[in-house]
Amino acid sequence: MINPQQFFFIAATAYAASGAAAVTRRGRTVTILFLLIGMAFNSIAVGLRYWHAWPMMPMHLGPLALPLCLGIFSLTGGLRSKEKNNRTGLELRLLPALLLLSALPAVFFPKDYYLPFLKSNTIFSHIFFLFSVLGKTCFLIGALKAVVYLHSRKNGRAADQEPGLDKTMHWVIWGFAFWTLSMFSGGIWSYLGWGTPVVWEDAAITITMATWFYYICLLHLHLTGTWNMRKRALFTIIGTFAILGLNCHPDMGPLRLPF
């Protein structure tokens, strides 16, 4: 049997190359080319895992799917822009790094050894998974936009009036919508499979809810303008990395060197 992990390792290497190209300013084309190669292998790895498990849900696929989703959103979003300015330049440099960072848990701590379980044979488990990955992707891009915004402010190119943080909130709102739909889908699955509102068999449910409350908090801070933009941007960055880092934990196995 072909091991999807090997494909993912190649994908992560390509992401690293893309990151290196971006940092050393080798140019947009080289960066995107490596990114595309990485995404191609990443797709194979995700596809293989899904192909093996279908119609059930592959276990702990999140860390494998997140970089791919990030790549797709990046290419269809900021990276596509031809406009050359500091903002897109910084994003171009940071995105591959973010991709690589999000790929690291799946490279070094894969948890691919649990076999799919029968109760995941429902459309709601797949929606639950898909929307949670989309949610995480949006949250990460939102945090990236906040970094770019803070960087612009530091260089004196942005004031509080500039709609810089709006872009962050744009992604956060989408992320929140996906995350909520993922949770509701999980709620329906829980009722159909176990008959209870919450399935306590999986401790990750608490982290999922913590994430939801965190982003409700962020949205309230934004919509009511409780803090100033700088504080909100910092809160977005620190919180996102902390909370999504915690989200990774249930999907991580012990250290397993890929070579």
Partner: protein, 377 residues
């Protein structure tokens, strides 16, 4: 002002959290309260009154224990009532039979088993079967319910959920003694305390627990001097399936406690959980010791024999340069000697700390099968 009130609330909430967290330590030491509810893995015992105890078994079923002469309580079905002390028991698993032995009631109460006489290593069971007091009820796939009925058990201890409707029909209360999540070390040690109220043998159960706790303390102390941590795996490969003991199982916890590295510590779930072959082989590259489920009677006579049965197994380090241990035939019937078993596992992990120790429950597999003189095959 608002901010100040908010901060006060925040402090109060944190205080509440701390109080509840510290309060729990008191609960642990309040023996009386602790006794009124006992949780052993998925099994529970709740004392609701001096003559009224509620138990929850491995299949989430609730049963009520009442004295033999008490009136039937309201709100419960007949199948839920067990009159105590129970005088006649049919037991499906070796584990339950040995638990009865730990409580000192085996000879007195056991009337039916599902293994023939020649498979037993417990003297009391052999004697009982010889005398006709204990009856072989047929194997698990073909229980002779007529025979069972004739034995008039007041309780059946079984892992097989499929017999529940038939036992209900025969009006024999039963408890399911297996659970979906593997038993942790504490639950394994306390399991007799779950069975004790059925026979009113709480003191014997406490004595058993104390004995095993002492053994565990001894292991902890002795292994703290260990100079190296052997890497251990416990499982097997059967055709296309890989089954291992998860990290939450008692063996996994014991290995970790005895200053060793259990390679499936991160795996969580049921006993004999299935994982991917790749993971088993990956851990096998590092392992020093393998505990196999197979026994010499099922063909595990040597490392070479194991590798012949499952060629994939031949790739792992314990079969090449490490050590492999298989359970002896009487191992599964020795639950009442849990303290000795724990010490033996510790002695296997750290032979340097147990000089001259002779194995009694496991056998170390030789590299190849011993050549028996005159054996032409």
């Amino acid at each position: 002002m608002n901010y100040r009130i908010t901060m006060i609330f925040l402090n109060l909430a944190l205080l509440l959290m701390l109080t509840t967290i510290t309060g729990c330590n008191k609960e642990e030491t309040t023996e009386g309260k602790k006794r009124s509810f006992l949780q052993i893995g998925e099994f529970t015992v709740t004392r609701k009154g001096p003559d009224f105890t509620e138990v929850r078994d491995g299949a989430d079923r609730t049963l009520i224990l009442i004295p033999r002469d008490a009136e039937l309580p309201q709100g419960y079905t007949r199948h839920q009532i067990v009159r105590v002390p129970v005088k006649r028991v049919a037991a499906w698993s070796n584990f339950d039979v040995s638990a009865l032995r730990s409580l000192g009631v085996l000879e007195e109460v056991l009337v039916g088993v599902i293994q023939p006489e020649d498979k037993w290593h417990i003297d009391e069971v052999k004697r009982g079967m010889e005398a006709g007091k204990i009856v072989y009820l047929g194997n698990s796939n073909a229980i002779d319910f007529e025979k069972l009925k004739k034995q008039q058990p007041e309780l059946a201890l079984t892992w097989d959920r499929s017999v529940i409707p038939m036992l209900n029909e025969l009006e024999i209360p039963c408890i399911i003694t297996s659970a979906p999540v593997a038993m942790c070390l504490n639950a394994r040690m306390r399991y007799v305390q779950f069975l004790a109220p059925f026979f009113q043998r709480e003191n014997e159960a406490d004595a058993f627990f104390a004995r095993v706790s002492d053994a565990l303390k001894e292991i902890r102390e002795l292994t703290s001097y260990a100079l190296k941590e052997p890497k251990v795996m416990w499982g097997d490969i059967y055709e296309k399936r890989v089954l291992v003991e998860p990290g939450n199982a008692w063996v996994g916890e014991l290995v970790e406690l005895a200053q060793s590295d259990y390679l499936f510590e991160d795996v969580y779930g049921t006993s004999c959980i299935e994982i991917s072959t790749e993971r088993f082989l990956y851990s096998g590259e590092d392992a020093d010791i393998l505990f196999t489920y197979s026994s010499p009677s099922t063909g595990a006579t040597s490392k070479a024999a194991l590798a012949r049965m499952n060629p994939l197994l031949g790739r792992i380090r314990p079969l090449k340069t490490g050590r492999v241990y298989a359970p002896m035939a009487h191992y599964s019937q020795s639950g009442d000697k849990l303290d000795e078993i724990l010490i033996e596992i510790s002695a296997i992990l750290h032979p340097e700390l147990y000089p001259g120790y002779e194995l009694r429950y496991f056998i170390e597999l030789p590299d190849i099968d011993p050549v028996i003189p005159g054996d032409q095959s």
